[in-house]
Point group: C2
Chain length 493, copies 2
């Protein structure tokens, strides 16, 4: 190995950090709680962003950009939302520095440049956006308003973890406005389906679609829908949320529209978002002790080609094959391919490096291979190697990438499916959480108090009430009180 | 007209604001100095961003993302840079709000959540990036490092103007690290060429490439190269800058590398950026009193089709032609086309609306046109209308778009070229600035004092010393002192 990776068994947390740092996805920064997204990690985010962006546009949404700052008076207008985020707000109070008279070469905040009203660095943009929508919506003809924003947001965190929990992160936030509650609910559900589609078919991460309990709802929402994924250590990860906001923000910002009969009513709202947190989930869902395993559809480099040669003659023959045949054929099929003929590293070092980086397919091509009209093809997901004929190789690589995409998904799904466990007693509940881990499907009496108590006792939260959940009579796993359905509990990131 | 636009002659500033607001590019926000980029404006920015991003990648750059915040101690490390930006810094001093005991339902900044060290909202990212590069660069093998970032930045401004000067704006900032001064200078010049290529061939805005005087240099740079454009009111606009930073940031952040002989040296740096300000320049370079004129290569909608019909039968026949023939043919050629068959607005209203929005080509198609196998095609740049045969129409539209792109550029270039005036006396200098406007090419004695004095007297600044400037003996237009070359002055945005 080129770089030492802690094994999952030894220390799962450290394994994760090793992959993120040594795999070139991100780095720590000098700013407490903020990370640097490195070029390879950002290329991954670009692939994810572009796929999502197309899905948003295909469902009728357009992008826009709203201010980074929210004046405090706007921020506090929707009280529940404000309360929910108040404890994690970065606040701008001054707009100028000046030279520090007591410290040569140093600067200080200019006390004379104090803002009359503090500005909150957006933790989410409902407030600033609904304040803007007020000017854009008068009539039913202005609805629906289907806008998305790609942006950075800040939520101050004391304990951070690369990608999974950082003070600043990148995300998209959709904010839509509708004439009826029904349309807004339909939009909320549609975007949940978009997220599930993206998670499963692009990230190869199976997800459970559900609705959050009142305790776990987004601050200011009437209902929060979510997709929940399972990591390899048996902990759940919320991978996306879609909120039905009712008329809460319309009322807070006085956004009314006149309907076809000229009757005034408040507008109905949704918001929905996914973030760079998804990258953390992606790493933990698929990777192994040798490094990242990236699904082909979002891998920044899908195929790497490593030449194995002695001397310029052999190199020239391999170059010819690779540059004039393989690469053009793969690029024509929109495959992102890298030819690593860097002379300063040995093939073995390169193999380990691209395993660490999760490149789905590696082609090694030597002079003897050329003579035999074959190449050695290694797939990252299973680490299988095979000798492939050079005839029709590009077509075979293309179908191999598809096969890998499916295999990664199926493997994650098999693990996830085998880690949803029905339990019927508190002892079982705790035992499954502690030993088997994963989702625990259990009856719950429907009260926030019980939910809170279970969380205290077990550190597990209700991840969701799955959509189309089976209704069945039962007894709450903690209190024994009557229950009408099982819900999914898990310890979570 | 659907919306009243102030004419340029009447009030150029108001004309600009009318176009931006009524053309749907941007809106004011509740945050002083910050704007909302509306969906149409953002779609334009996306087109510009994607074109630039491809040019950056084609020249070997990769994207990454660095923190929004810069701790004050890092910010002040490169003294000139810090001094240059100190007066426009938004400063985060607290990380929490709490409920205000004196105001029910209101929040206040929690005085107990004061940061030990203030965080500056990045006005530019050299400091945070070079602090990070310190950990990434050890040897010549780590160089060059060619990274770009797409991000928001904040520079507090008292007097703002949509797109042209806003407290928050979107931009890209390239930050590269090199082993030699020569390589860094070559990178600086290469990126200037990229910007000029983009401005001229995508935005259709002719630019003058040059270098800034010491007074006008980026704070912390050894040399600032720039492209300068001319607006229709005769004022210049700096459309992009590329800085050779020498070893200033490497020294401030102690970033050294060992060369092939194991000798340690400081790294050489560049940075370069363009921003949403370009949109303001685009509007002012081409548009007219009827609205925006957008170059086809970056127009969000390149072709709009408006049906003209009475009754469902006529509509059905037009729909068939448009949806089954025209749109598929245009889309196959990657033309972005909109079919506006909204029944609530009359054709005349739509015509005015798409003129306002600067859609390069409008096709009107009526039932009688269909009978005659023709369509009415209007081009936005010249407002010419012509009847085109429906046979081969898509091909003709494609070449018409190319023609419009060229025409818009040529028109702007003719205007710009006729507004570069050589002057040889102070009287002439002032007269040209006041009456003819545009760039004034004049001898200058090369001192910062004279430059400053000219600025005070005339409100004109030295826009640049053009690259490959002709050397000729002359006398400074203000002082009469000897000069070796003419430089370009203008009043500027
Ligand atoms: Zn859920
Ligand atoms: Zn210049």
């Amino acid at each position: 190995m080129s770089k030492e990776i802690t094994s999952r068994e030894q220390d799962y947390s450290q394994w994760y950090i090793d992959l993120v740092l040594k795999g070139g996805l991100a780095d720590y920064s000098a700013v407490k709680g903020c990370m640097v997204i490195k070029p390879y990690g950002y290329a991954l985010w670009e692939k994810m962003r572009d796929a999502l962006d197309k899905m948003f546009k295909d469902t009728g949404h357009v992008n826009a950009y709203f201010p980074l700052f929210v004046p405090k008076s706007l921020f506090e207008a929707e009280e529940k939302n404000a309360e929910g985020f108040a404890k994690e707000c970065a606040v701008v109070t001054h707009y100028r520095l000046k030279t520090d008279p007591d410290n040569k070469g140093k600067l200080m905040v200019d006390p004379e440049a104090k803002l009359e009203e503090e500005l909150i660095v957006r933790p989410t943009s409902e407030a600033i956006i609904w304040n803007t929508y007020k000017g854009w919506i008068q009539s039913y003809r202005d609805l629906p308003l289907l806008i998305n924003q790609w942006a950075n947001v800040v939520r101050w965190e004391m304990r951070t973890r690369l990608f999974l929990r950082t003070a600043e992160f990148l995300w998209q936030e959709g904010h839509t406005a509708h004439a009826t509650a029904m349309e807004a609910v339909a939009e909320t559900k549609q975007m949940l389906e978009v997220y599930a589609d993206f998670a499963e078919n692009w990230m190869a991460v199976p997800v459970i679609k559900g609705v959050k309990t009142a305790n776990e709802r987004f601050a200011g929402a009437e209902d929060t829908y979510c997709i929940e994924a399972l990591m390899q250590d048996g902990k759940a990860l919320q991978a996306g949320t879609s909120h039905f906001l009712g008329q809460n923000f319309a009322k807070a910002f006085d956004v009314k529209f006149s309907d076809k009969e000229n009757k005034l009513d408040y507008v109905w709202a949704t918001s929905w978002g996914v973030s760079t947190r998804l990258i953390g989930g992606l790493v933990m869902a698929h990777s192994d002790d040798d490094g990242l395993i990236l699904p082909p559809r979002i891998a920044p480099v899908q195929v790497v080609i490593v030449p194995i040669y002695k001397g310029d003659d052999q190199k020239a023959r391999i170059d010819d094959k690779v540059k004039n045949e393989l690469i053009p054929a793969l690029k024509a099929a929109n495959i992102s391919v890298k030819y690593d003929d860097n002379d300063n590293a040995r093939p073995g070092w390169k193999f380990a490096e691209y395993e660490l980086k999760g490149v789905p397919v590696r082609i090694a091509l030597g002079a003897r291979d050329l003579d035999n009209n074959v190449a050695e093809v290694a797939r990252r997901d299973t680490k299988e190697k095979a000798s492939y004929s050079l005839d029709g190789l590009p077509e075979k690589i293309i179908s191999l990438l598809d096969e890998i995409q499916v295999n990664i998904y199926n493997r994650a799904k098999a693990y996830r499916d085998s880690h949803i466990t029905e339990v019927n007693s508190w002892d079982e509940f705790m035992q499954v959480l502690d030993e088997k881990t994963g989702f625990v499907s259990a009856h719950w009496d429907g009260t926030g108090e019980t939910e809170e108590k279970i969380k205290e006792l077990s550190k597990a939260t209700i991840r969701c009430i799955p959509l189309d959940n089976k209704q069945e009579a039962g007894k709450c796993v903690l209190t024994g009180n009557p229950s009408t359905q099982r819900v999914l509990f898990a310890r979570a990131y």
